[in-house]
């Protein structure tokens, strides 16, 4: 058994590895990450995960539900550390797996992978507590600076391979007939199907998209999704979509930036630094989608919000069918917005050990039907001239979204270990 495999075994047991080993691991990881571009290309199939926040036992549950590395190809969208009690073990395990199986796991940077944020939100203190010095924190921060800013998933199938999985609630079972494309499936942690959406094949013309209320796909979403089994967090926020042709999927931690109109512009950034307070790199890690038109400045005075028109333009210009991001807590584990052009994936169940939320991971299948396909989405395809005009977006073609299989799961029971007891301890507060 190699040292690395030993370290993996030790970390899987939630035991930190010695400082000297951390140093070596971080050095190797940096050598590996420096070779990656700002936007890593990832071939489907891939399982996309959102925030982890040091909830180690829930990360183990994620691997149980989603499959182990290297059997499953993973993409983690950042925020590995802070808030939870096991940031160190969680991040080092992911890093070990990255070094051991570089082609089977992709790590991109979240806004918590920063010196400034980790000193405030727990990771720094945790390292200090577990090692007695800040060295390990420093090694990890150096790795943070090398993490990619985004990933581009190519070759994702537009429909899901049918599974043999049983329905969690047989009365919600939908049968898939010949010619139907399964677009979205929601599975619980036992692997049972909670809901299934079939893509509406009657919508071939993109013009339908400009008129959502009458779109048949809008009525279809009424079907079973809001009635999931209790505790599964079956969400009403996953809607079928329609369109023609497939596209790539961009994964970033936060969202878009007004300074970035093509993926190539992300590639040009100098990422090997602490996350700046402003600028494109900051935006990619911090911004949020919102029900607004165009770009907005957050009332906080820093941070951008972007509306559906921005997403649709960006996706169109860059041949994307979907943007996948994390960064925001959602009770149901995932939330699709803007006619399924962007999705938030959240993978920390019972966040901060008290929110009671469900976590989700998103599986994108491999497009086996057309081997020669996979158009490269390098962002240099200028199909829409001056398309930043909001009026034009209504007429834009929308690429067929990938088939999306969400697996949701709840907090691992053992993550209550070492936690403040569920029952609050009485104190003589005044």
């Amino acid at each position: 058994m190699s040292d690395l495999d030993k370290a993996i075994a030790q970390l899987r047991a939630c035991r930190p590895i010695p400082e000297i080993q951390v140093r070596e691991l971080c050095y190797k990881a940096r050598e590996l990450l420096i070779e990656e571009g700002n936007v890593v290309t990832v071939d489907a199939p891939v399982t996309i995960c959102g925030d982890i926040h040091g909830q180690f036992h829930d990360l183990m549950e994620l691997f149980r539900v989603g499959g182990d590395v290297p059997d499953t190809n993973y993409l983690f969208m950042g925020d590995f550390v802070d808030r939870g009690f096991y940031s160190l073990e969680s991040f080092l395990l992911l890093l070990c797996l990255k070094v051991r199986y570089p082609d089977r796991i992709t790590l991109i940077r979240g806004n918590h992978e920063s010196r400034q944020i980790t000193t405030v939100y727990g990771f720094y203190d945790e390292c200090l507590r577990k090692y007695g010095s800040a060295n390990v924190w420093r090694y990890c921060c150096e790795v943070f600076d090398y993490l990619a800013l985004g990933a581009l998933v190519i070759g994702a199938a537009t429909e899901l391979e049918p599974t043999d999985a049983p329905f969690a609630d047989p009365s919600h079972a939908t049968t898939v007939s010949e010619g139907d494309e399964v677009e979205v499936e929601l599975l619980n942690s036992a692997g049972h199907i909670v809901t299934r959406h079939v893509r509406d094949r009657y919508i071939g013309q993109s013009s339908q998209l400009s008129n959502p209320p009458s779109s048949p796909s809008q009525t279809r979403e009424q079907t079973p999704s809001r009635n999931g089994a209790p505790g599964t967090g079956a969400t009403g926020s996953s809607h079928g979509s329609s369109g023609n042709g497939g596209g790539a999927v961009l994964c970033v931690h936060g969202g878009l930036s007004p300074l970035i109109d093509s993926i190539d512009k992300i590639r040009l950034l100098d990422r090997k630094q602490e996350v700046p307070h402003e600028g494109a790199m900051c935006d990619l890690l911090w911004s949020d989608p919102d029900e607004i038109e165009g770009w907005g400045l957050s009332p906080r005075g820093a941070g951008f919000l972007f509306g559906a028109d921005i997403v649709k333009c960006f996706n169109h210009k860059n041949d994307l069918s979907l943007i996948c991001r994390a960064h925001q807590l959602v009770m149901e584990g995932f939330k699709e917005m803007f006619q399924n052009t962007i999705v938030t994936v959240w993978s920390a169940p019972n966040y901060c050990y008290r929110c009671g939320n469900i976590a989700a991971i998103l599986e994108l299948g491999e497009d086996g039907s057309n081997a020669g396909y996979a158009p490269r989405s390098n962002g240099d395809v200028e199909r829409s001239h001056g398309a930043s005009n909001g009026v034009l977006t209504e007429r834009m073609d929308k690429l067929k979204g990938p088939g999306r299989r969400y697996r949701v799961f709840e907090a691992a029971p053992q993550d209550s270990r070492g936690m403040p007891a569920k029952k609050p301890v009485a104190d003589y507060f005044l």
């Binding site: 720094y124 007004p258 957050s298 009332p299 005075g301 925001q328 609050p424 507060f429 005044l430």
Partner: protein, 272 residues
């Protein structure tokens, strides 16, 4: 379950207790954060975005059993008291830098939905009169004191709970947290509803509402105390005290004595 003559009940995230003389009841309810749909409904109703962690089903209530009078703490009513305009709106530490850097970018429209995103509230609970007569009357601590001397005695705590109403991480610029603690002793009870705001590099704010009842009386004494201090000032004091600064900044109890009282009022409700 008549331990010490106190009735304790527990069902579906709800638990409560009745004072041994049968006059007062306290009940708490704890549920997970709201799902997407109720959040949207609440946001539409209140006209502001909802905090990231919204415990919209959580409740703390104090009831005068004979009249049905109650004082309740819930997230909806607390958020309704958050400023929905630009008034008093804080800015994060890097906002000035942002303004300079972004001034040339025309495509970015105005600030989206200005409101007090720090979720600062002066919420003192929601009163439901039931069949009781009377009203809250302004008074002073001299006339109706919250007896910290009696509360400091090691009387047995018959019922204790802490209930979060909402929390927001302010996009990692600090924390805004509204939570309620309560303890019931054989002869009295104390509820503390605390709003705690730490906006990194800018401000620390604590707004406490204390509710005090001597079970043998029909008086509910309520004290509201608002405290503030600049972040730098608090940080300096913590350093002088040789505290672990980042850790102390997470502990409202440590920060409270370092802040300046900006508002302090007491009122009393005689339920009959």
């Amino acid at each position: 379950m008549a331990a010490n003559g106190v009735e304790t009940t527990k069902a579906g995230g709800t638990q409560g207790t009745t004072s041994r003389n049968g006059a007062w009841n306290v009940t708490t309810r704890k549920q997970p954060i709201l799902k997407a749909e109720p959040i949207e409904a609440l946001s539409n109703e209140l006209g502001i975005p909802i905090p990231e962690m919204i415990f919209g089903d959580n409740i703390v209530s104090l009831t005068h059993i004979k009249t049905g009078w109650s004082l309740e703490f819930n997230a909806r009513d607390a958020l309704d008291k958050v400023s929905k305009t630009e008034e008093g709106m804080l800015q994060v530490a890097v906002a000035e830098q942002w303004k300079k850097e972004r001034s040339h970018q025309d495509e970015v429209k105005q600030v989206v939905k200005p409101f007090d995103w720090s979720y600062s509230t002066d919420y003192k609970g929601s009163t439901h009169p039931g069949e009781a007569l009377g009203a809250w009357e302004q008074t002073t601590q001299e006339r109706f004191p919250i007896r910290t001397d009696l509360l400091s005695r090691p009387d047995p705590i018959l019922f204790f709970d802490t209930v979060d109403l909402y929390e927001d991480e302010l996009a990692d610029n600090g924390i805004a947290l509204l939570s309620v603690k309560l303890r019931v002793m054989p002869e009295r009870l104390l509820i503390l509803s605390r709003f705690f705001l730490r906006l990194d590099g800018v401000i620390v704010r604590i707004r406490d509402t204390r509710v005090y009842v001597e079970h043998a009386t029909n008086k509910v004494i309520r004290q509201y105390t608002a405290k503030e201090g600049s972040y730098d000032h608090v940080q300096e004091k913590l350093r002088q005290m040789r505290e672990n600064v980042p850790e102390a900044f997470r502990d409202a109890n440590k920060l409270a004595p370092l802040l300046k009282t900006v508002e302090d009022m007491t009122d009393v409700f005689e339920v009959h």
